[in-house]
Assembly symmetry: C2
Homo-oligomer: 525 residues x 2
Amino acid sequence: MQAAHEPVAHEWHAHGLTLRRVAIDTYHENVAYLHRDCAVYRAEGFQALSKVEIRANGKCILATLNVVDDASIVGCQELGLSRDAFAQLKAADGHPVAVSQAEPPESIPALFRKINGERLSRADFGAIVRDIAALRYSKIELTAFVVACNRSELDREEVYFLCDAMVASGRRLDWHASLVVDKHCIGGIPGNRTSMLVVPIVSAYGLVFPKTSSRAITSPAGTADTMEVLANVELPFEQLTGLVRKHRACLAWGGTADLSPADDVLISVERPLSIDSPGQMVASILSKKIAAGATHLVLDIPIGPSAKVRSMPEAQRLRRLFEYVAQRLQLSLEVVITDGRQPVGCGVGPVLEARDVMQVLENDPRAPDDLRQKSLRLAGRIIECSPDVRGGDGYKLARDILDSGRALAQMRAIIAAQGARDFDHQHPPLGALTLEVRATEAGAVIDIDNRQIARVARLAGAPKVKGAGVDLNVKLGETVAAGDLLYRVYASYSADLEFARQASAQASGYRIGSAAQVPHVFVEF
Amino acid sequence: MQAAHEPVAHEWHAHGLTLRRVAIDTYHENVAYLHRDCAVYRAEGFQALSKVEIRANGKCILATLNVVDDASIVGCQELGLSRDAFAQLKAADGHPVAVSQAEPPESIPALFRKINGERLSRADFGAIVRDIAALRYSKIELTAFVVACNRSELDREEVYFLCDAMVASGRRLDWHASLVVDKHCIGGIPGNRTSMLVVPIVSAYGLVFPKTSSRAITSPAGTADTMEVLANVELPFEQLTGLVRKHRACLAWGGTADLSPADDVLISVERPLSIDSPGQMVASILSKKIAAGATHLVLDIPIGPSAKVRSMPEAQRLRRLFEYVAQRLQLSLEVVITDGRQPVGCGVGPVLEARDVMQVLENDPRAPDDLRQKSLRLAGRIIECSPDVRGGDGYKLARDILDSGRALAQMRAIIAAQGARDFDHQHPPLGALTLEVRATEAGAVIDIDNRQIARVARLAGAPKVKGAGVDLNVKLGETVAAGDLLYRVYASYSADLEFARQASAQASGYRIGSAAQVPHVFVEF
């Protein structure tokens, strides 16, 4: 009961139209504006919201059509383009332009097969991902792909096909080194800023570690957001490569490098649907790392009652899928399964996390020990990728680099090279408004809900407001008296503080009980 | 591995904004325009493409935000609205207006459960369909719902819940009669215009038959498109009800009556994905019929090699699903399984089909007999819904009404009441450009591909160009010599004719062979 897919025949019509910039920002969606009395609009039978193909200056873009009745916005002889669409054509106002009905993307028959539950081939995934990266899919088609892949549980070879196609959809960096290391965490643990410690330690040891990170999507801070407290992270591609040549490392935002661009498009529909299926997670993470030129990757899968992964069998299934796809793509992968029962460090939010990181680097006695230990273990595992390091020696090498101040010096070099920002971690620029959340009974902390802490920090304004967030005062297993401080919330706007107050009043995120109730977790490392 | 759904807290901010109509037609999508330097835009941290809620004049609408850098389109103290969005608020230019971040629809948690393959409750479907009908779902959320329901194969009670919720989402007509009949075909057979014969016959017999139809979505003509050749079909709701009171019948477009509006929204994403799963088909058809006030429905399921349903077991499965849901909704349903091996009648396209219908009504010897016979059988089954008619007598009653001219008189009364259009079926206003497709070999017609004939007719311009389409000269089982006319294509524009020519050259839609190869079909009626 499926109507056949039918390509629409079409023709080009120039009709003497000229280009006009319409100063409307439609974000990721290209919009074209035609006057209702425009001859092309009448002749072609376009409908508002039709997808049209626009050619000028040897370039071709797709856009959604809006029909205009006001000649001051766009005249009858003009084709208007929204801000970003206009920029893509790189043509001047008044340039001749041609428009036609857009042909449906070539890969639509493959998409329809996936919607109906079929297994797809390497060529199918290649065609679909090419169309997605070229922004040829509508939101409807994108969503259908994501939901169809979510439900039909891609088999592991399909995940490999998808991942490989995603790598091919963008730029692939080549660092001209036989060993390029990287690390990644699947996410879900607030405050988990180990990259900002692992990168200086491992690159101080001598390995090439070009770390590109994302900004927060649904969390209170991504590595790029926190690093931005200390340094510029939006580096032009040439500056980024120069920096890595000189310092072996960077801590930059990955958005400028065109790595696995199809992934960014897919995330734009996965996020509002909270879809994070194993297949899509593996393809997303590995495609970014391979495109960034990594040869060796250490992957952190935290488990805990409020982590993304909640049981060891689930973690092991995910590990095997990561390993299968990495091996097909000739990426050397080490998976470590870590303690995800609670946030790492004390601060949650860009400024608070930057403070924790700098305290660890400076060997400040107030530095959170869990962040220090986890970073040293991860750095040790990465250092062991080096062929001249014996298994088991990495941790000690990493600790020596940190304790000696060499990691701090390397971090300072990276910060200076990227463009330092004014930041004094002894006096971090926190939000002026605060709220204290206190224990209502005495006992041991037996649970800290990662999701609720993240939620309170986001409502307080993180990551947009850098100085907003949550500063934890006690961690799992510690004992408190009634009235003791559990955490302090920082905000810059009273509305934000009020939202955070309501959320923490509903659920503080902490549970107090007896010491015997603290959950154990058996991790691999 | 699912992030929790998190409602976003929000506040109203009037900020002294005033309303402005922006003369841009964005079709079904409401768009709001704010200047980049507008205080609200800066304070609220809206993003372009955010969903915002707009209040004025006691009304509230949702819209997608576009950011403007041109004060001639929208000033810093103004909130612009696209044409239809502005009309929905029914407020004047300059009226005070408030804007806020839109809260996510209440039913999103249920949607997420469906995406993850869970069975939903009656309350879940109620909440989802209410949000869909209120246009609270984004294209992403709509598509996710449609694809998740397609893949997880809704169980039959879920189809009932969905259908019931769709009925409740709009108006439900009450004709104050104990017997209100209707008919429907699941579609896929070109030229199948039996409604325009069945309605006058059955209403001439005396039954109440308020027939509302759709326009073509993917076919070369819907009943509303063909009826529009003869009469006005876009009737204000009051005129429609008055007409049915007087003549017991109408043949109108259903779009003005607000029947199952959620269905129209769902179709807007099902169509581009060619999704037509049994559950969605049943919920869509039955919700429209129940909302239109039908108590008794005769449903036509054609089967054939190029019909929507291709085998008897598939037809029987579909029949059982229709019957289960109809019984839960207390609709009396008769399913008839009919011959769908080829188009019905000769003409395919509005004017050509109107000609066939009028020939049958006038007992013209040139009238296509298959259209006459099918209409009489359907009309007979519907007449038998009347408690004073014995099973088996309906066909003869219907034939007497048609042969005596009473059906023609009733049709003329309906046409006059709706507003007659100038149409002479002896000289139908066909497209001036023609193309003849001829047999390349001698033999019997053993196959006529419904989809290819429909495709050629659509490329020729149907249904938009009323006089465009395909006129079949020979039908299944008839013999032809090489060079004999198979069908004639009519078009009004040379580009359309050229597209039709290319398509019919690729595949005429006809197969010629030996008489023994004509496929048999065992139908129920």
